[in-house]
Symmetry: C2
Subunit: 330 residues, 2 copies
Amino acid sequence: MTASSPAIPAALVQSARDLIAAANRVLIVTHIQPDGDAIGSLLGLGLVLRAAGKEAVLGCDDPAPENFRFLPGAGEITPEPEGEFDLIIAVDISDPRRMGAIGARLGRPPHILLDHHLTNQGFAAVNLLDAEAASTGELVTELLEPLGLPLPQPAATCLLAGMLTDTIGFRTSNTTPKTLHLAEKLMEAGAPLATLYKAVLNRRSFEAVRLWAEGLAHLNQDGSIVWASLSLKGRRASGYGGAGDADLIDILTTVRDAKVAIVFSERADRTVKVSWRSSPDINVAQLALSFGGGGHAPAAGAEIPGTLAEVEKKVILATKALVNGAAPST
Amino acid sequence: MTASSPAIPAALVQSARDLIAAANRVLIVTHIQPDGDAIGSLLGLGLVLRAAGKEAVLGCDDPAPENFRFLPGAGEITPEPEGEFDLIIAVDISDPRRMGAIGARLGRPPHILLDHHLTNQGFAAVNLLDAEAASTGELVTELLEPLGLPLPQPAATCLLAGMLTDTIGFRTSNTTPKTLHLAEKLMEAGAPLATLYKAVLNRRSFEAVRLWAEGLAHLNQDGSIVWASLSLKGRRASGYGGAGDADLIDILTTVRDAKVAIVFSERADRTVKVSWRSSPDINVAQLALSFGGGGHAPAAGAEIPGTLAEVEKKVILATKALVNGAAPST
């Protein structure tokens, strides 16, 4: 799709425009366990509607993740929107169940849905869906002018935060020329790119870095396979509260000539969580499946019984067989 | 400056356009020890000129760094350009001495200079300088149309590589709406953003990650100060060939609530190299100066005699005094 081709029929946009023009009190709702694009779209559209003279209530079952609480309006997000609404808009929600308790209490579908998830079937009266948008923030930005809505600076900031989250700073393969074009518009409206980049993408807890240190203390390479191992003891010593690897695997994937990156995480139940990432020519989903797990061709995982040493040994053997072109053997 | 204001007088651009139109055999030269923007601008402009029917020779005293050797034309860069040239264009060169041996042999200044460094005084016949461009790749891209030059896909790839290098993937504070606008044009000409991002910014040696592991094994925090220490033994064990910290300090600066990040690197001569990074409200240049070093307000360094433990102790004390608003004491 080029920057100018219309992904959404003009008649649908016109319907949404009419609904918004007629509304006074609007509920905007995003999905449970919101990420940066959910929060950015929710706040961005909310602040846009306020600038257009509407009352806008910001609904989500869960609060904004810590990295997004600095965004204007983040403190106003409520799990219990009160009163009557003459318009309900859902953003970044791929499936009606992801509206959570708010959705259940509404007792009716949203009037308008804005989303970019490929799997979205549409569950609102007016579905503004574009799977080629790299983020819902991008889609909202693109539709503001057709919807007859303004772009105040605080809204631009929120929308760019959403865009940065889903494209990991314009680095994902679904980032298009249009993405950059719309980001340019947000910057021109006053969104502070460098500040947002740091706040959204380049900030983590001290404990997360300590978890990396624990994992990198057991860093290995065998040909084009690079791996790190997190013992239960190391995880506890780090003080890291999350269940995952704090994106340690993303560091391993940056190693030059590494075709497969693996993180082994020891669990308290005598299993080991194994995560694989691979270059495009190698399908690790198949390998994960052979260990009772699953995933996508370039990113998969499995939970495998055994000690860290046992699981490491058999997984590295099987991964080597895959990389060398043989069938994986468990 | 907005996206439309002309940073460079039209008459200068017209002079350069005339010189290029009249030329047949062009030497393009970039600075010694080239970075990604130097290489990207050199190759990008070279491929542009070839698409315009010129013979273009690509000159640099040093070869492209490893991360940029995949770029089209990188293998053709020569430290000894041969034959006669009817036009010499220097790119990304802030000072004529940085033309190196090639510049010395030329025995004359370049006809045209394209650069974005603030300190550039101009040393060519026609100086196309714009310190508000975030990269020379950006400046070259912007000038192609005014110079009457085409934008073939391989050139777009090289120019975007330059842009990504100098803006670290559009995250530096000098990234403007215009930067994104010109990056959009390069993508539309076929530059593969996601592939370039990974190749240019997200690739490092296994030994570099092992150096991180060594440093992170000595990770500490005291209030808003976070630091890591690299012993000489750890550096040798990592096998890392570089002299620096492989950007370990960039990881420390991402720690939430860290106002100052420090890396201590033990040297063979019983000194310790200390690097500071700070948030905008703290000036570490002053601190580095008090230890006999120097630098900029947010990024400074010093080489301090003593053991790792001795230097760590006094530097942390002085840094705490600075962070707490007192004068630094050594």
